[in-house]
Structure formats: structure tokens, C-alpha cells
């Protein structure tokens, strides 16, 4: 089973290292608007949630793309955009329920998290273990373990 990036928002400290690393690794420059992952916060409520492409099994972005520019990579199972085919209509942006599809402000081509070809830079850089790169059942088990730990060792 292909691996995905699962989020454990309870562990996220809100440092946004994932955003910085993603944009530098993928575009050579730091700009949160070019990052495929963004940490969404409600500071006053203490809420911090990294949001990124969850590589839906039935991805609406793939279905709605009028030029078939979006497809699944057979080796990583990541949803990927072919920039040469993409016409920048942003239908995928509208269709995605998570805001995981965006348009690069320079190229005007659709961009999303493509798992860095199977070795996601954000996961490697996350200092708090809030991003897990694993097969879904294994990611779920890790989250169950974390939830159980909170039950017996509340912060």
C-alpha cells in the first residue's frame, strides 16, 4: 500500500518549518504561498493544523481536470500535475475540499504535494513529529498510540 503524509496536529508546535523547507526544496526560494503545506492556526485557541494534499483515493482534482493534466504516479501513488498539460484553469483548486491544490503565482500551473517523489522534505524536517509518512494503516496505528498515551499521560 502506498504511503501518505498523515498529520498529528496534537504534536504540531506551529513552527512552520514544513512550509519553509517545502518552498525552498521545491522552488529554491522561501515563500509560504509557494509551499504545498501550510500550518493553519487559531492562535488564541491554541490550534495548529498542517494542511496538505492527502492524496485522496478518489481524487476530485483528477476527475475535474478538463485536460487530464492530473494523474496518479504509479510508483508513489501521489497525485501529480503535468505542468506542460495544465492550462491553469484552477478547477482543481475549486474541487479540492482541503485547499491542497493551488496555482503557482509565477508559472500559473497547478501545484500540490507530490510527496517529493517518495521522500517528502517536510516530513524529514518536522522537528515535532507532527507529520508521518507511512501507509495509512500504520499511520493510524501511530496515531492510536499517541491518543492512548494522552489518555494515560495527559500533558
Amino acid at each position: 500500500m502506498a504511503r501518505i503524509i498523515a498529520v498529528d496536529s496534537n504534536s504540531c508546535t506551529g513552527c512552520r518549518t514544513c512550509e519553509l523547507v517545502c518552498s525552498v526544496a521545491r522552488t529554491g526560494s522561501s515563500n509560504p504561498l509557494k509551499s504545498r503545506v501550510n500550518v493553519i492556526k487559531w492562535e488564541l485557541e491554541g490550534v495548529r493544523i498542517p494542511v496538505l494534499c492527502v492524496q485522496c483515493a478518489k481524487a476530485p482534482c483528477i476527475s475535474c481536470c478538463p485536460v487530464d493534466a492530473i494523474s496518479r504516479n504509479p510508483s508513489t501513488s501521489a497525485v501529480e500535475v503535468d505542468a506542460k498539460l495544465c492550462m491553469g484553469c484552477a478547477m482543481c483548486l475549486s474541487a479540492c475540499p482541503f485547499g491542497a491544490m493551488s496555482l503557482d503565482p509565477d508559472t500559473e500551473s497547478a501545484v500540490n504535494c507530490d510527496l517529493c517523489g517518495g521522500s517528502p522534505a517536510c516530513v524529514a524536517a518536522c522537528p515535532s513529529g507532527a507529520l508521518l509518512f507511512a501507509e495509512p494503516p500504520k499511520a493510524a496505528l501511530a496515531k492510536k498510540r499517541a491518543a492512548a498515551a494522552r489518555e494515560i499521560r495527559p500533558e
Binding site: 513552527c15 519553509l20 526560494s29 509557494k34 500533558e155
Partner: protein, 629 residues
């Protein structure tokens, strides 16, 4: 480009805004952040101006690495002539403001003049505007930020706001961003208030190009992992885990009454943990040292308390314990007031009343006793509003002493008019020296904190190697005087560079010699920005910053006699035991003076604390101010 950020000049009296590039030659001399702020202050400061006069210049500077994936790069610096000390002040803060300012296209904002009505300065994608802030006046810091976000319809706007204390021109006023991040020390919040400037805000989407992304990310990942596993960060680096710090043998508490509670008596660690809602971090920080706590009612959170707040508040905690501390921390953030200065002044006042030096009526009966938690909260509010006893204490200790008398001044534990934090500075000659020669006053941010862990042979070799090339021995024993001037010189240069790069000092060698300093920063400068500055060149830039701050202060009439500590600071602490006697020997006034002289030699200052002309010419400072910015 990482070096392509600009400088904006804002005249609030005329409404004029100018934006200029920053010449590359200034980068290699002054890097950015604090050191470039020093350069700007020395060029633009009007000698002799009143700190709260509209002519006083306020400089906001973001560190050069802010906005880049460099561990701990989140620091912005507010620089001005301090209304508390009359000397230069640097108030630094972390959080997310500095990165956003750089994404908005700016590294430095120089503010002069006074707006007719309250305003805020908004930076966004290369444009900087002065906007109306009348509806924000009177609001707390977090409340102001939320209202600005609401009005701009953008929850990602970052704001550095003053609260009621800055508006009332309390000389203890701070400015705050995020949940609690504060530019605390020196009264920069009052300088903002004196300009009718409620806030700086920033929102940006301009990319910061990285010269060699692969190399930069690799180095950064390695340093981030090192920070996360360092002994200092592991022990003290998660929210609310600062209590064991007070138990370190070398941490001494001073300014405490014999009967007042120490932090370890005032606060139980389990109580602190039970109030914690987890850790939160600043931009790009792998450590997340801040504790968050839930407000009564349970839904909302605030950040804090931290180590400094706990140390300063402990004598007043009384039966309120941790809950009193949380309330104190939140109140200081909301009012925009320096928790350390306000609590230390309260301690001073309470001590004066208790020993009968000053009658209670001189404080209008408002002076809290030790253990009176509600009393100090009330006093802090009045310091922020400049009413009652707070109107006197809100001017700062030295100015209040002009009313209270010389005996009161003699009891003030301060350096250059700024109260000393109640911790560590008396425990070793190095800390005492750091406090004595610090150009911003009683601030220990630049002290050699790494000394608390002891100086190993390896550490000694590192300190004496490149770029410092010290020839003197450095003793490993913390209470020794041998080589202590060198420790202070080294840690000042290290802290100065961290502030220029925007790297939090907790993730620098200032706190743990295993953490990054000149060599690592040289590599990051090269891979992130393309600037080829070897460790010796970075060291030189730090030396320039230190001398420029001293030159600024001398130009303002600073007497080098102020490089020292009041007698009250050198006497043993009340109720001190055997260890205090040992400290007293170590802080023998003659030996202490010799340490200061040694420090002067390292900084190439004459016997009166003025830079020698040879030092100025070798660092290229002999033509300053050169007004290139």
C-alpha cells in the same frame, strides 16, 4: 534574493515614506538585524534628543535569516534611545513577525516624527503605508492584533503592538507580537507610544531566494537536529520546563527578601504542568520552549509564563502560586509592560517600605508586601496607566529615586538605570561583568550562559581558537575570575551576531557551546545568501556592533563610570549562606575593576572606556557616522 530586502524611512509627522535598497557593502560590514540597526542609529540618531521626543529615531530590524529554514531564525529587534536608561536599547522578540516583514520585502523600518492621531505602519509586498489606528487606542496587545486582522480581513497578518503602557508613555513599556512574544527591555514600547504608533504590521508573499537550496537545507537540518538533542535544549527546551533551571548550583537569586519565596518555593512544578496546554514555538524553531496555558473558562490559551517572569514574580506569589504567576504573565502581555522591570521595581519598593527607608505613604499606600499577589497586579496596572504609585515607578528606578531620595537609589539593583534580572548575575564574576559592561543596561541576554554548564577542556579550546585567538587561560571553575573578561567578550560577540542574523540566542552558543556560532553561521551565510564571510569577518562585524553601541552611548553623554555595578549589587544577598561569602571574595571591588579593565583591553578601549582610534580604523569605523543608509 535573501539580501534583496529593503529599508523604509517613515516620517510620521509629515506622512512621508521612502524605500531604499540596502547596499551590499553594508551587509558585509554589518550583516543585518541588530548590528545594522546600530549603524542606522548612529547615523540617524539626533544626539541629546529626549527619548520620548518625536525626534528620537526608532528602528525596527529583522534578522538576516528570518523567513529562511534556519533553526531559530525568528528574531526582530526594536532599537531606540531608551526612555529608561537614556542609552541605546535593543528589544528583541521572536514569534512570526520578522519572517512576515521579510516576505513583505523589508528588513529595516526607520521611524521618525509623531503622527497627529494614532496610526499603525503596514508593510505588504514591497509597499509600506501609514494607516489609521484610532479605534485600536486603549486596547491590549493581543486584542489590537485580532482587530487589525479582522479589519484587514486577513488572519495571517502579523502585528507588533503596544498596549496601554506604551500609550501612557510608561518607561517600562514593551511591544508584543503573537501570543506573548515581547520586545521587553528598555521601554521601546513607550517610544512607539510617543510617536502615536500603535503597531507595526506585516503581510508578505515576496519570495526570498536561496543561493544554494540543497546545501542550505542540509546544513540547516543538521543544525536543527543538533539543537533538538543539545543538553541545554533537552533539559529546558519544552514549554514550562524551566523550573529545574533554578536548582542549578550556579543560579543565584538576588534582590530577594530573606523571607520572600524563591521560585522553587513559590511554584510547584506539578502545578505548572497541570496548567500547561502544550508547547508552542517561534518561526523555524525546532525546540518550542514556550509554554501555553488555558485561560479560565478553558477555551482560549495564552503563552507563558517563562523563566524570567517566574524569577521576577516569585517573591509576590504568596498563596496564589502558579495561578498568580499566570495572571501576572498575561497581564504584562496585555498591558504591554516589561514583566522583569515592573516586578523588580515592585520588589525594590516593597523592600524600601519593609526596612523603613521610604514610608508607605510615599507610594500612596499602594506598595504591595511580599506575598501579596493581588497587590502587585494592581501596582503593575498602575505602572502601565501611570497613575498613583505607578506614575512614580513607571518612570524607572533611577528617576523615581530622584523623588524617593538617595537611600532609595542606593538599594536599587540596576545597571545603567535598568533593573537587573534577579537571577544568575551575581553567581559568577563573568555574569557580574556581563551586566556591568552591557551597553543596554541590566540585561543578561549577552552573558556567557554556557558557563553554567562548566567550561570543559574542549570548550576552552573552542573559545580560545578561531576567531577569537585569546592567549589567556580560561579557568573551568565558574566562580573563578581567570579569563572571565574573555568569556564575556566572546558571548557578547556571539549574541551580537545571533541578533544580526535573527537567530534566537537559545539556539546559539551563548547558551550551549555545542550549538551554532561563527563557523556554522559562516556556512549558512554562504549557502543561503551567497555572502562569503568567514568566521573572522563575522567576528569583526560583531565587534563593530559592540563599538557602535558604545559610541552611540558616549555621544549621548554616557559616563564610562557607569560600566560597573552599584555597591548594593556587590554585597552578599540577604540571608546568604557560606556560598555568598565565597562570591563576595570573587566580587572583591578591586578584582572586579581589574576584570572591567581586562574587558576594555579586549574591546580596545582606553582606560575611560572610549574606543581607541586604532580600533576604530582597523574596523573601518573611523568615518562614522557615514549616512550610507
Amino acid at each position: 534574493m535573501a539580501l534583496g530586502r529593503k529599508i523604509a524611512y517613515v516620517n510620521l509627522s509629515t506622512g512621508e515614506v521612502r524605500v531604499n535598497p540596502i547596499p551590499q557593502s553594508l551587509r558585509s560590514h554589518y550583516i543585518g538585524g541588530r548590528i545594522l540597526n546600530d549603524y542606522i542609529m548612529f547615523s540617524h540618531g539626533r544626539p541629546g534628543s529626549d527619548p520620548l521626543d518625536s525626534e528620537n529615531v526608532l528602528v525596527l530590524g529583522a534578522g538576516l535569516f528570518c523567513g529562511l529554514p534556519v533553526a531559530g531564525a525568528s528574531i526582530a529587534v526594536l532599537t531606540a534611545k531608551s526612555p529608561l536608561t537614556g542609552l541605546i536599547c535593543h528589544s528583541t522578540h521572536g514569534g512570526f513577525f520578522a519572517g512576515e516583514l521579510r516576505w513583505a520585502g523589508f528588513d529595516h523600518v526607520v521611524v521618525r516624527g509623531k503622527a497627529k492621531k494614532p496610526v499603525f505602519i503596514h508593510a505588504e509586498d514591497g509597499v509600506l503605508e501609514i494607516r489609521d489606528a484610532q479605534s485600536l487606542w486603549g486596547m491590549g496587545t493581543a486584542e489590537s492584533r485580532e482587530k487589525i486582522r479582522h479589519e484587514l480581513r486577513d488572519p495571517c497578518v502579523q502585528a507588533l503592538c503596544i498596549g496601554p503602557a506604551g500609550e501612557s508613555l510608561s518607561r517600562l513599556a514593551s511591544a508584543h507580537s503573537d501570543l506573548s512574544r515581547g520586545s521587553h527591555r528598555g521601554g521601546a514600547g513607550a517610544v512607539m507610544g510617543s510617536k502615536n504608533l500603535k503597531a507595526f504590521t506585516a503581510r508578505g508573499s515576496l519570495q526570498i531566494s536561496v543561493k544554494d537550496p540543497g546545501r542550505a537545507l542540509k546544513t540547516s537540518a543538521m543544525l536543527s537536529a543538533r539543537a533538538k538533542s543539545s543538553p541545554f535544549c533537552t533539559k529546558f527546551g519544552s514549554g514550562g520546563s524551566f523550573m529545574p533551571f533554578f536548582d542549578l548550583a550556579a543560579v543565584n537569586l538576588l534582590g530577594y527578601p530573606a523571607t520572600g519565596n524563591r521560585p522553587s518555593e513559590a511554584f510547584s512544578e506539578s502545578d505548572l504542568k497541570s496548567r500547561s496546554a502544550g508547547s508552542s514555538s517561534c518561526l523555524a524553531c525546532p525546540v518550542a520552549c514556550a509554554m501555553t496555558s488555558r485561560l479560565p473558562g478553558g477555551k482560549l490559551v495564552s503563552e507563558g509564563p517563562d523563566f524570567w517572569q517566574a524569577a521576577a514574580f516569585a517573591p509576590f506569589a504568596g498563596s496564589a502560586g502558579v495561578d498568580g504567576l499566570l495572571e501576572f504573565a498575561r497581564l504584562c502581555v496585555s498591558l504591554g509592560i516589561d514583566p522583569v522591570e515592573s516586578a523588580m521595581l515592585a520588589s525594590w519598593a516593597a523592600g524600601l517600605v519593609r526596612e523603613g527607608t521610604v514610608p508607605d505613604k510615599d507610594f500612596g499606600g499602594d506598595c504591595p508586601g511580599f506575598g501579596d499577589s493581588p497587590g502587585i497586579l494592581k501596582l503593575v496596572k498602575s505602572m502601565a496607566d501611570m497613575t498613583g504609585a505607578g506614575a512614580l515607578l513607571g518612570k524607572g528606578g533611577l528617576k523615581a529615586s530622584e523623588t524617593l531620595g538617595k537611600n532609595a537609589a542606593d538599594r536599587l539593583l540596576h545597571a545603567k538605570g535598568m533593573c537587573l534580572p534577579p537571577i544568575a548575575w551575581k553567581s559568577s564574576p563573568a555574569f557580574a561583568l556581563a551586566a556591568a559592561v552591557c551597553q543596554t543596561g541590566g540585561d543578561l541576554r549577552m552573558a556567557p550562559w554556557f558557563e553554567l554548564a562548566g567550561i570543559s577542556d574542549q570548550a576552552r579550546d573552542m573559545l580560545r581558537g578561531s576567531p577569537s585567538q585569546y592567549e589567556t587561560e580560561i579557568a573551568s571553575e565558574p566562580l573563578s575570575s581567570e579569563g572571565r573578561a574573555h568569556l564575556v567578550h566572546w558571548s557578547e560577540n556571539c549574541a551580537m551576531t545571533a541578533d544580526a542574523l535573527g537567530i534566537c540566542q537559545y539556539i546559539s552558543a551563548v547558551h550551549d557551546l555545542g550549538l551554532p556560532s561563527f563557523v556554522e553561521w559562516s556556512e549558512l551565510l554562504s549557502s543561503c545568501t551567497g555572502m562569503l564571510l568567514g568566521p573572522p569577518k563575522i567576528w569583526e562585524a560583531a565587534q563593530r556592533g559592540a563599538l557602535l553601541e558604545r559610541m552611540f552611548n558616549l555621544r549621548e553623554g554616557f559616563s564610562p563610570k557607569a560600566d560597573g555595578l552599584p555597591e548594593a549589587c556587590l554585597a552578599p544577598a540577604e540571608g546568604a549562606s557560606g556560598r555568598a561569602r565565597e562570591r563576595r571574595r570573587a566580587l572583591d571591588p578591586e578584582k572586579f575593576r581589574a576584570l572591567i579593565d581586562e574587558y576594555y583591553r579586549l574591546r580596545v578601549l582606553d582606560g575611560r572606556g572610549k574606543p581607541e582610534s586604532s580600533a576604530l580604523s582597523s574596523l573601518g569605523l573611523d568615518k562614522e557616522p557615514s549616512y550610507m543608509l
